[in-house]
């Protein structure tokens, strides 16, 4: 293992920082330097690492990583999920569109690098508070060491934003990595929704995105975060999300994976005070050689907290999906109600599902259950639809779409749901 470590820590000889980085406050440059040191000292994921069980480790190795260069912006259509209250387009980590409409007083919604440079003290308090990861410490450190870009949203007490904030990420150029970071802070009774999409400009350039997202929901607030990954079939993505929900707050995260060659999602969710509720929804449509690797953690750290996880995967060709989930009920977190479910539909003889739903319960008076299933479309279902005049191929598609859409059925916002379902249907055209 030691030889492996030395060769693979050498992905990079210097941090992926762009030359023209603007003046940043001292705390941030110190953070960047510490992250770089951490990145260098951490080993690469290895076989014996439980957090990487079943993963194809070769896919998580990178020979070299040169930061993405500036590129000319492609013509970009706004994501069609309904009304957006602010819209950002990033190409290789540089903002080409930053339209912020008429937001209520006190709301901050700006590129995160600008927010840091402007010396926002509140941002500093919430910045990178998460130390724990589910195996991706090295990637998190790399993100911290790199030139930062992304979105910072702060919604003050009682403010509810109507419409979502749209962030569209584009990657272009050969093997160019981007390092996005999203930080969302919702104060008491605030409400905010963010929709992020990842796409490739070109269909055959391998891109890479290593992103970090943090959500802080104070008392009674609501945060919704939707992540749509639709990169080209050569690209890779690592996305590490953390949510912390306070008293009576609600955090809803939605991940839709359609594109990409290899995708690793981490989702850490902490319910910190009573009444905190977290919903984690995921829909993954994998075909060809795609590998989607999802690790989740639901931590109940207070009494009367709830969480609900539903991940649905449809697999075709030689695709692989890994789900590693854990519900942790900490000592004293009585009256927890937690659910975790991973359902898989296998559409080919070569597809592979690995599910590891886990529970660690340290309190009593809890209601916790999890389930994992895998199966295929039954002949009866196809027969039923065919007997009503629907051709077999269409029948298969209808059943598969319906299967995946169920994971989105509890997503807040009907326009958003319709848009996501439309994206799934579009991908299905490539599948069959």
């Amino acid at each position: 293992m030691s030889t492996e470590t030395t060769t693979n820590t050498a992905w990079l000889s210097s941090p992926p920082v762009k030359g023209d980085q603007q003046d940043m406050p001292e705390w941030y440059t110190a953070f960047q330097a510490a992250s770089w040191e951490r990145f260098q000292s951490l080993p690469v994921p290895s076989r014996s690492d439980e957090a990487w069980r079943y993963a194809d480790l070769k896919k998580s190795r990178f020979e070299t990583l040169q930061p993405a260069q500036s590129a000319t912006a492609p013509s970009v259509e706004p994501a069609a999920f309904g009304e957006a209250c602010a819209r950002f387009v990033y190409v290789n980590g540089e903002a080409s569109v930053a339209e912020v409409g008429d937001l209520p007083a006190g709301v901050v919604c700006q590129p995160i690098d600008q927010a840091i440079a402007s010396g926002d003290e509140r941002l500093k308090a919430y910045f990178d508070v998460e130390a724990k990861r589910l195996g991706d410490e090295k990637f998190a450190a790399l993100n911290g060491a790199a030139s930062i870009y992304g979105l910072y949203v702060y919604v003050p007490k009682g403010v509810e934003l109507s419409g979502s904030i749209s962030v569209q990420h584009y990657i272009t150029g050969d093997s160019a990595p981007v390092f996005p970071r999203t930080l969302v802070v919702a104060e008491d009774n605030a409400r905010v929704s963010i929709v992020e999409t990842y796409e490739s400009v070109d269909s055959d350039e391998p891109g890479l995105s290593i992103g970090v997202a943090d959500f802080h929901a104070d008392r009674g607030s609501q945060i919704q975060h939707v992540l749509v990954q639709n990169l080209n079939e050569h690209s890779k993505q690592v996305h590490l999300a953390t949510s912390r929900s306070g008293r009576d707050s609600n955090v809803q995260t939605v991940v839709l994976n359609l594109g990409g060659a290899w995708v690793r999602n981490e989702s850490l969710n902490y319910m910190l005070d009573s009444g905190a509720d977290t919903q984690i929804f995921g829909a993954n449509l994998a075909n060809s050689h795609q590998e989607f690797d999802q690790r989740t953690l639901q931590v109940h750290d207070a009494q009367h907290t709830t969480s609900d996880l539903l991940i649905k995967n449809a697999l075709y060709d030689t695709s692989r999906v890994i789900f590693g989930g854990l519900i942790q009920v900490r000592p004293g977190a009585h009256h927890t109600d937690s659910y975790q479910s991973c359902r898989n539909l296998l559409g080919s003889d070569q597809a592979e599902v690995n599910a590891m739903p886990g529970l660690e319960i340290d309190a009593d008076q809890v209601k916790c259950s999890h389930g994992a299933t895998s199966g295929q479309i039954s002949d009866d279902e196809i027969f039923y639809l065919r007997s009503r005049g629907i051709p077999a191929d269409d029948a298969r598609r209808i059943v598969s779409c319906g299967f995946l859409n169920e994971a989105l059925s509890k997503v807040t916002g009907s326009d958003l749901r319709d848009w996501l379902e439309g994206l799934i249907a579009k991908k299905f055209d490539q599948v069959s």
Partner: protein
């Protein structure tokens, strides 16, 4: 079968195991483990050279393998391998008649409830006292049918042609650190062969005991059931309580040929200082069935994941598991189902109860590789938490390739409802009795899977464990 007599005969509770006899071991390999220990064991047993070689290779593997603490509990690091005595025995051959059995051994069996009269009810009894089987008896009619039921030393010596073929094949030496340890120093355990078509009507039974301080017991069991044959094997364990931790590391291999059936039943009730690290696995050939019925009540740390490799078409595997973890105990149990042929089916039902600061863990593996058709797995895990500081974990891993299979896994965690307890208290039961009744109800549908005498014994053990858990 007379019920009350059987009950009396096999009733084992923890207190019955709570006694110690003077140690006067004729053969003692001393403390610690080295090639010398192995030479010593091999010489005492008069083993063939290939077994000695096998042991030495295993020792090498054992020394190389790390403790699996990257996924298992760190408690494993508390095992002091150099403080363990790896072999000691009375140097006696297994005796065939009751009269030849030494008196203090007899007394132990008496306390355990294996008196002479048990022979009337059981097809064969082999009770292990420390490393060597001190008593072994098979009814004549079984012998006539060609059933072989001997200890491992005798099996390898007298029937190498039968046992060598499968010995160490289902569980290779390098499977894990503790299977390697067992392969290096094994002694005792049962070797059973059931010829084609023979259906053994009565369960074969063996009791294991640990009776020397710091003494690890490393029995090795191999059961081969030939085509169309059937057998049920039962093992139950008690151990006297000692101050320092004892290690029990068994390897059990089962081979079910075409259309054969094996049922392996364990009631484990080691005292709370025993590390019980056991590897159990069976191979089921075409249309064969292997069932593990496993109950873990005692020990400090149990790590045991009975497995079935379904190698032939339509083979079936099943694990029924009950675990009860009390203060200072960690029951890390589970099941491993490897589907390696078409139309194979497996079923896992696990129920665990955590009392006081006890911790119970379910760890499972289901593996369905490529290019198979029609495999099915069903897994259910239910956990019951009794006190507010009890702990339970579930870590299944399900790996499925291809679109012609069905798997489902479900787990739930619950507790005894206060209303239930209140209801029973209202009708005159004490809180403890009510709790005990509730817990017995929770496991009742699994307890019914056990043979009658074991299920009664189990209920009694659960009652004992629940004493003092409330209030």
């Amino acid at each position: 079968m007379s019920d009350s007599a059987t009950l009396e005969a096999v009733s084992v509770d923890q207190d019955a195991g709570d006694f110690v006899y003077p140690e006067d071991y004729e053969h003692d390999a001393g403390y610690g483990l080295s090639e010398k220990t192995i030479d010593y064991i091999s010489e005492v047993k008069g083993e063939a050279d290939w077994i000695r070689e096998f042991r030495k290779k295993a020792l090498n593997t054992f020394e190389k393998k790390p403790n699996p603490t990257h996924w298992a509990t760190k408690d494993l690091e508390n095992i002091k391998f150099e403080d363990i005595r790896y072999y000691l025995s009375k140097g006696q051959r297994p005796t065939r008649t009751w009269d030849e059995v030494p008196d203090d051994v007899k007394e132990t069996f008496e306390r355990l409830g294996i008196p002479e009269k048990e022979r009337k009810f059981l097809a064969g009894v082999e009770a292990q006292f420390d490393s060597e089987a001190a008593y072994s008896n098979i009814k004549e009619d079984l012998e006539k049918e060609g059933v072989i039921f001997v200890n491992s030393t005798e099996g390898l010596r007298e029937h190498p042609e039968l046992f060598k073929k499968w010995f160490g094949k289902v569980i290779p030496t390098g499977d894990n650190k503790y299977s390697a340890l067992n392969s290096a120093v094994f002694s005792g355990g049962s070797f059973i062969y059931v010829p084609p078509g023979v259906k053994v009507a009565h369960p074969l039974q063996a009791y294991f005991r640990i009776n020397a301080e710091n003494f690890g017991q490393f029995e090795r069991t191999l059961i081969i059931v030939d085509e169309g044959a059937e057998v049920t094997y039962m093992e139950g364990c008690t151990a006297p309580k000692f101050e320092t931790a004892t290690l029990h590391s068994a390897v059990v291999e089962l081979v079910a040929m075409d259309n054969a059936k094996i049922q392996y039943i364990t009631v484990q009730n080691w005292s709370n200082n025993v590390f019980n690290l056991v590897t159990k696995r069976g191979v089921a050939h075409e249309n064969a069935e292997i069932r593990w019925i496993d109950c873990n009540i005692g020990s400090r740390l149990t790590m045991k994941y009975p497995g079935v490799i379904m190698k032939g078409r339509k083979a079936r595997g099943e694990v029924v598991s009950i675990a009860l973890a009390n203060d200072g105990q960690h029951q890390d149990t589970g099941a491993k189902m490897i589907h390696a042929a078409d139309e194979t089916t497996s079923n896992v039902v696990s129920k665990s109860i955590s009392v006081g600061e006890g911790r119970s863990t379910y760890r499972g593996l289901v593996h369905i590789p490529k290019h198979l058709k029609g495999c099915k797995n069903n897994t259910e895990c239910d956990a019951l938490l009794i006190n507010s500081n009890s702990r339970t974990d579930t870590y299944p891993a399900i790996s499925v390739r291809g679109n012609q299979h069905a798997t489902q896994h479900e787990a739930s965690v619950s507790q005894v409802s206060e209303e239930q307890i209140f209801y029973m208290q209202q009708r005159g039961l004490s809180e403890g009795e009510a709790m005990s009744l509730s817990v017995n109800g929770f496991v009742n549908d699994l307890v019914r899977e056990f043979p009658m005498e074991y299920s009664v014994e189990l209920k009694r053990l659960i009652d004992l464990e629940m004493e003092g858990s409330v209030g």
